[in-house]
Amino acid sequence: MIFTIAQHELKRLLISPLSWLILATLQLLLSWQFLVTLDQFNGLTSGQQQLGITSLLCLRLFGLASILSLFTIPLLTTRLLSEEYHNGSFILLNSAPLSASTIISGKYLALFSYLVVLSLIPALLISSIGLGTELDWGLLITALFGMLLLNAGFAAIGLLFSTLCRQPNMATLSSYALLLLLSLLGYAGSSLSWQELLEWFTWSGHLMQFQLGQLRSIDLIYFLLMISLPLLLATHHLSAAGIWQHTLKSRLNYLFFPLLLLLSAALIVGLSGKYRFQLDNTATAENSLSQQSIELLEQLNTPLKIISFAPENRVLRKQITTFIARYQRRQPHIKLQFINPETDPTQARVQGITRAGELRLEYEGRHEALQQLNEGSLSNAILRLLGQPDSWVLSLDGHGERTLKGRANFDLSEFNQALQANGFKSHNLNLATTGFIPDNTALLIIGGPRTALTKDELQQVDNYLTRGGNLLLLVDNGSEDALQPILNRLQVGLLPGTIVDPSGHQLGLDNPTIAVVTNYPDHAALSGFSQLTLFPHAKALQAAESNIWQQTALLVTAKESWNETGPLQGEISHDAKSNEQLGPLTLALALTRNHQSRQGERQQRIIIMGGGDFLSNTFLANAGNQALGLHLTRWLSADKRTLVIPTLKRTDSELHLSNTAKGVIGFGSLIILPLLFLSLAIFIPWRRRRC
């Protein structure tokens, strides 16, 4: 019987011009949006896209389709019952041996079948570009599923008002009113405690998750309630129609069911907060954490506090909350707190926050600051906070070196603070007193000794390197002789003089002895690092052929730089006759080799810098120097200390459609199909009248 009614309703829908006009309009608007989006996508350089073409189209097309649904569905639902009450045809149904649930189900089924077709339009448009790219099908199907749920929900609400209102206009208006309310509620709240609740009621946020390829229990429950509640209420009203008006008792009886229904809905929503699940259906798992991060989070065993200094901006804070939620799902120890830097500037200053939107992570008394929010940066920050309990960064002391504990201008004490804030343990090491380099040394820093190391000390360093120890060697002017034995051992030579780099002039630097580095090679030590760095009074290195070490030039100066051997005074220029070489000159070398030990094979890492001034207290704050120092230290100090989060390789980041294909898709979807639907809107009623 349900199918009899559904078939009848669907037939009446398809013989009415309204359904074809809606189809034509939808097809026209969606394909217009589709072609515009494709055009924009091709206009940008490929590979730089924030989103793949599938997600971009899903967001735009299903977004537009949802707005169109909002405006068309009440027109369609009004026909289902309200209009039948109005013109008397409802009596045919009401006199027939049918239950209220049969009538509601039949009518709903018919409308839903039509809405499936409407929802398929954007999906088919998007799948048409499968000709030119590898579509993210998981994402597309999830987005389509979300669209179906939304349409089903809108249809249920419309049908409820169609059942309640005897006046068709009233039914349409009431549906619009409720749907608009559910659309705008999330934007109305100002106080933050209500905000979350209001946002829960708003459909757009839930739909967005589907369009991002995420299937979350909270969104599913929202839409399932949006579908089931109105349908149950409509059935209840239709079956109680007429009875409830008679006495006070029957009125109370009538109201009992809706109350019970709303209570159980609230209960379901409440429980759903406790038992959540989430599926990421995108091809590249864009919404999920990488395995590395998940393993990292398992190591957290006390609360990790994340404080965001984001201003009170709904969209910004929502993004942060959503992002942190990925971590919170894996690790409930993580707590997120917002501090508005505008209203609470003292807090921000105390915490050393310089930029709005910065994050501060606190774990077991240590802290980390974070300026970019992505998985790589956050996971690495957590990793640094976790620290490695038994490994040390030691700086050699006793020969006039730059040391971590020293407080002179050329010393590294400020860098030391940065190291500690990032979870490193550090100390100075005087070989004359300790006599050896401890086994738990993760990294040894030799900061340009002024006097030569004793034979014994050199032997200790040599042993350390033989044991596979990691080393940061800062070769300063004046320390060449002291370091020569170590450089020899590492098979690295030096160019005489100091690097002069005129390229700094363009950046407003009036001191040509500061070398500027802006581009970095693709190397694990520098992964994710892109800031400008400045190297005062640096020396150039020269790698010799080595069969032991794998050498990589980490930092390279500009083409116009050279190593000036003359005095750095007055007018200076490149003198090709002397031992001066033009750039690019090597400023830093990374040396690696595989080292076999009892614990197994690991990589030994050494970085030789042509100068340590960039890390000194005087210059550390300049440009990206501190960050570079931290990056290098992290890479050097241990294998495990830096997570390399694999970058997403989207399959659909490029689109290659032939002109013919474009033409067929564009012409077909923008002109042929809308015209076809439009002509059906005219032809079908005309044909039926002619019979």
């Binding site: 045809s89 009596i91 045919l92 006199s95 041996p97 007429g242 039926r688 019979c691």
Partner: protein, 303 residues
């Protein structure tokens, strides 16, 4: 045999106002009951309740043993109902509409075409199977409405002013159809056309302000009063002592007003009067109308 329809003590209120009061109706197979009443007397409300389209505040309705209020689906299967406005879809063809009505009443698919053709023939709709209902005239629409009520051959047929909008020829054809159907089904119809009631109904219930004021059996063979004219009238006593006559009044000029005995038919009376040269025998048709006006206006005067 169980009565086809038993409605007991029905009440209906509309915004605190009592529309139907203590209404009880009983109907057997073969009965054609006319529900007579002024506009606003509650005829349509009453029929809506009997068809299951309105829910009474109080009372019971049973259709051939099925309780309409407690098991409406079983009961509604036995009812065919034509409301005051036929329940039509203007955008459908007549055939499509009747097929849908047949399906809704659970007629098996194999029998649907036969059923549609049958009602189209009964209601003279053969010519307009593929016409849009919205384009048809009032008379056609009314007949489609009737066809819809008959399609599943219901035991009880409820017709709310069935002849409205029909021309005199169609009206007579419809009355014939109703008389014919009345032999196998129970029919209850509302109208305010008195001759219609008298010509087709075998019972009339007069409804006034939500109550049944008067219910009486009608017999077309047995007119309430007869006016006769005789060529050779006998003595007045001889006439009044005839077995089939209860009483007689002399109207002068060989004319008499007779009140027939309860079970006497007009044929019997005529046969007995022929020896005296029966010239005219006219049933007193005004009687129902008189009673109707008397009952309904009397009530008005009392208020």
């Amino acid at each position: 045999m169980n009565p086809l329809l038993i409605a007991k003590n029905l009440h209906f209120f509309y915004t605190q106002q009592c529309i139907i009061k203590k209404l009880s109706i009983k109907l057997n197979r073969g009965d054609i009951v006319g529900l007579l009443g002024q506009n606003g007397a509650g005829k349509s409300t009453c029929l809506q309740m009997l068809s299951g389209n309105l829910y009474p505040a109080e009372g019971e309705i049973s259709i051939d043993g099925s309780d309409l209020l407690k098991e409406p689906e079983a009961a509604k299967q036995k009812i065919g109902y034509l409301p005051d406005e036929p329940p039509l879809y203007n955008d459908l063809w007549v055939d499509e509409y009747l097929t849908y009505a047949a399906r809704l009443h659970r007629i098996p698919s194999s029998a649907i075409t036969t059923a549609v053709n049958r009602v189209k023939k009964q209601c003279e709709l053969n010519s307009c199977g593929r016409k849009l209902i919205g384009q048809l005239s009032k008379g056609f629409r009314q007949r489609i409405g009737i066809a819809q009520a008959l399609i599943h051959q219901p035991d009880l047929i409820i017709l709310d002013e069935p002849t409205i909008g029909l021309d005199p020829v169609q009206m007579r054809e419809l009355r014939d159809l109703i008389s014919m159907l009345g032999s196998q089904h129970g029919i209850i119809l509302s109208t305010h056309i008195l001759p219609e009631v008298e010509s087709i109904c075998n019972r009339v219930d007069i409804l006034h302000q939500g109550e049944i004021l008067h219910s009486e059996q009608l017999n077309q063979q047995q007119g309430d009063q007869l006016t006769i004219q005789l060529a050779e009238p006998p003595a007045f006593e001889a006439l009044s002592k005839l077995p089939s006559i209860k009483s007689a009044i002399s109207l002068g000029e060989r004319r008499f007003l007779l009140q027939p005995a309860n079970d006497a038919t007009n044929q019997e009376i005529a046969a007995q009067l022929i020896p005296w040269g029966l010239q005219v025998l006219t049933p007193q048709q005004k009687s129902l109308e008189q009673r109707f006006i008397q009952l309904t206006s009397g009530e008005v005067q009392q208020r």
